[in-house]
Assembly symmetry: C2
Homo-oligomer: 476 residues x 2
């Protein structure tokens, strides 16, 4: 993001004028494009609103931009007053396409966090940088000679990484598999994307948990899927609900996040896992088991994954380093029957030609390093401590205004507000007070729920964030 | 790829039995899955066919697999003779989905090169590993302390990389832009994918060069686009053809590869560039300028990119490090008007949550290192030399059986065979003789064309590859 240079002798407003002029002449802002409102631009650039007003006046005077009451400031269509516009109607293009944009609330949260680095972030389901294995990664890069071939990768992903995963899946998850059944993807996200794009067709019915991370992803709608709900209880979904959805709608796939479910934190009980797998086998419905959190279990103990009990090849298992090492590695994996892996890796070639070798090599070194185990132990302790601080803050500050039951792992606490509130108003009020969280409606829940993440903010910011939230809630 | 261990005392056939048994019990090969033919598996594993026959017999005897005349060997549906199958009908899933699989010829080429590392590869439009800036990358990883934050990245890509690109685009391509108009993607491939998925709708008409790389990509069909052809002449497409296609079909976008066009090697002349841009502006048709090869120009001289002349924001410019540094970095970029960049980076978040920071950091260091310029100079000389060897081989060995005119850059020579041949038969015959190339039909050309790439094989293999091709051609 460009910002004016306060050390420069050119007045701030003039720097802004020059910058916008440059962007117009490079055709980054073609004729007709909207400029941000004065208030918003001032916020983005960290200058007074009057500075922006002065810059816009200057630009209007030169004929480069025009302001129309009610529709804001735009780049003039008759640029420099000479030629009529020849710019494509970009709006028609950006509003078309089969792939839907992100949810407005998600975009708002991202905007709030990227424009203001001092905002307290209780929204991102992501580790704080001191929880990343930074030291290990940095020393790997320095000390282990990277010496891999830099050509197009194997469509299924870097072979040594798949080999290391075979061992760690056995050790940590009790899953037995071989290299040829693993596809390396850009996080769990790309595994989900490939499944929705390549194995399902528009009009297909699928079942997802309610609430669920899947609702935050327009990719399900983009693929034209009909989505049916499996309510999440404290011990996960009801297998009978799945059977009922199959009878009524012939659901073709079920998406589950059985450990520390995002957002509720629920763990699917072991007995339900068994019944679910039996029922899915009888009905021949594939289950997608999205499992990014199991290694965060504070005590280390979680029920065995569905995949570990799957002898019929009905489970597509998805894992990731994002929530247990570093999201910026963008390393995830899927385990599936051979024919599925073949189809998805072929399609992935078309989309991006595979992942870079370098982060795959780093991931492989990390898993094989012998220091991974220590890292996970440290991570568990740190998350436990962070959760405790958040639970304390919620109890002390919000008291009986919210209800929650903290899970024994994961990155989130799911809170019910004990009275009706307007999700997006509460979010705006909170952003104004310097804190951001995810409203439950993003996950498809009924109004009045909040997901607070404790993995990303600085420890001392957790109570401050909850206090700011409390004030915002007081305004509702 | 698993291979039996010849040092192991267990007989080879038994190792194969154990391996397949394991994969069946891990549900990687669910009931009903097809096993490779005996011949094919023998080839893949590098063993005698009789060894595989023995292994399959053993598996049949135990009831784990069954062979049905005409449909090959499959995993038994009644596994261990106990339960009826509960496996989902994976075939229905893998054959569904809106995203189409790769072209069979492309899959055949990939299979041939991955099963046999001694095959002479005149097919991959990729640099040989000695042309990669390996030394620079390896020493960067060792010496420059990687110290970046490992969290989710900016949706537009690593900011320092975008900043370096602003300078190198100006220096090498004469393109003026700013960081906020750049989106970093997983090679050019992902830029093309995002454009077809997010800016166009099913049924939209688009124009692509004939022949063209675009035909090798089912992504255009997957997006439901209607594709119209712009024939490529020695100096590129005819602007008038574009105008005609607009009148007839209201084409909504034009895809061009103006420098060392893949596969023909054509350069769009400067005068045509101007006329094309004027016509596209008048008709308000966006142009996608896919430009992976311009820095390979042996002499350094190519006409200015369309983007450098684009004052109306009608060009979406795509670049990549794949053909000038290393494809395994998976670093590409798109320059576009702000609103387009915003839409595409939002969608990309949904698909893979962005690229890993690490290869972006490497790319940034590489571009900024001051050694990039030397690397490019060395690359140009090496490609020139390689092309000369191929031209010599074609002239000496194939003589007047083919016609071609070598371009002054790029990685490929486009040959016309001077009599009618069957593309896929010629490919099979060549694979049998140890050489692989891309038949022109992959790029949508009429039969009898071949794309030979000279960037990947060892120098001494180029004449040997052409000789093997000559023998194959003799069999037609
Ligand atoms: C349940 C679940 N699945 C998948 C993802 C995607 O994560 P990544 O692509 O970084 O692995 C997330 C991230 O929040 C998640 O919560
Ligand atoms: C014209 C053209 N565009 C795009 C690509 C994709 O390359 P990458 O995604 O590696 O940048 C290729 C690769 O062969 C190509 O030839």
């Amino acid at each position: 993001m460009w910002r004016p240079d306060r050390a420069d002798k050119t007045p701030l407003y003039q720097q802004i004028v020059d910058h916008i002029e440059r962007r117009i002449s490079y055709a980054e802002l073609p004729p007709g494009s909207a400029l941000p409102s004065e208030r918003k631009l001032a916020e983005q650039l960290g200058v007074n609103r009057s500075t922006v007003i002065q810059a816009y006046e200057e630009l209007r005077a030169s004929g480069l931009v025009e302001s129309i009451v009610g529709s804001g400031t735009r780049v003039s269509r008759t640029k420099w007053g000479i030629a009529p516009s020849h710019t494509p109607n970009w709006r028609q293009y950006t509003e078309g396409g089969t792939f839907l944009p992100n949810l407005p609330l998600m975009r708002r949260i991202r905007e709030a966090t990227s424009n203001n680095s001092s905002i307290i972030n209780l929204a991102s389901g992501e580790l704080s940088s001191d929880l990343f294995p930074n030291d290990i990664v940095h020393s790997l890069l320095r000390e282990q000679n990277f010496n891999e071939h830099l050509g197009y990768d194997d469509p299924q992903g870097f072979h040594p990484l798949r080999k290391s995963l075979v061992s760690s899946l056995k050790q940590y998850n009790g899953i037995h598999t071989t290299e040829s059944s693993i596809l390396i993807t850009s996080g769990s996200q790309q595994s989900l994307y490939l499944i929705t794009q390549c194995l399902l067709s528009p009009g297909d019915a699928v079942a997802v948990e309610d609430p669920s991370y899947c609702y935050s992803l327009p990719m399900f709608q983009s693929a034209g899927l009909r989505i049916f709900r499996l309510p999440v209880h404290h011990d996960g979904i009801e297998p009978d609900d799945m059977i009922r959805l199959y009878r009524q709608h012939r659901i073709r796939m079920v998406f589950l996040n059985p450990n520390y479910q995002n957002p509720t934190g629920a763990i699917l009980s072991e007995s339900k896992r068994k019944r679910l797998l039996e029922a899915a086998a009888l009905l021949r419905i594939p289950i997608v088991e999205d499992d990014p959190f199991s290694l965060t279990a504070f005590s280390g103990a979680v029920p065995p994954p569905l995949k570990a009990m799957d002898t019929d090849g009905i489970v597509l298992y998805i894992g990731s380093l994002s929530k247990i090492a570093a999201s910026g590695l963008r390393i995830g994996w899927m385990i599936a029957p051979q024919s599925v892996i073949g189809r998805l890796s072929d399609a992935r070639q078309q989309m991006d030609f595979g992942l870079s070798i370098i982060p795959q090599w780093v991931a492989e070194q990390l898993l094989a390093s012998g220091r991974f185990d220590d890292h996970i132990a440290r991570l568990r302790r740190a998350l436990d401590q962070r959760q405790e601080i958040m639970v304390q803050s919620l109890s002390d500050i919000l008291q009986n205004k919210v209800a929650f039951s903290p899970p024994q792992g994961g990155l989130n606490i799911w809170c019910k507000i004990n009275r009706p509130v307007d999700d997006s108003k509460l979010l705006e009020e909170s952003i104004r007070r310097g804190v951001v969280f995810v409203p439950g409606s993003v996950y498809g829940s009924e109004p009045g729920f909040i997901r607070f993440s404790y993995a990303k903010p600085r420890l001392e910011d957790i109570p401050a964030g909850i206090a700011a939230f409390n004030q915002a809630l007081g305004m509702m």
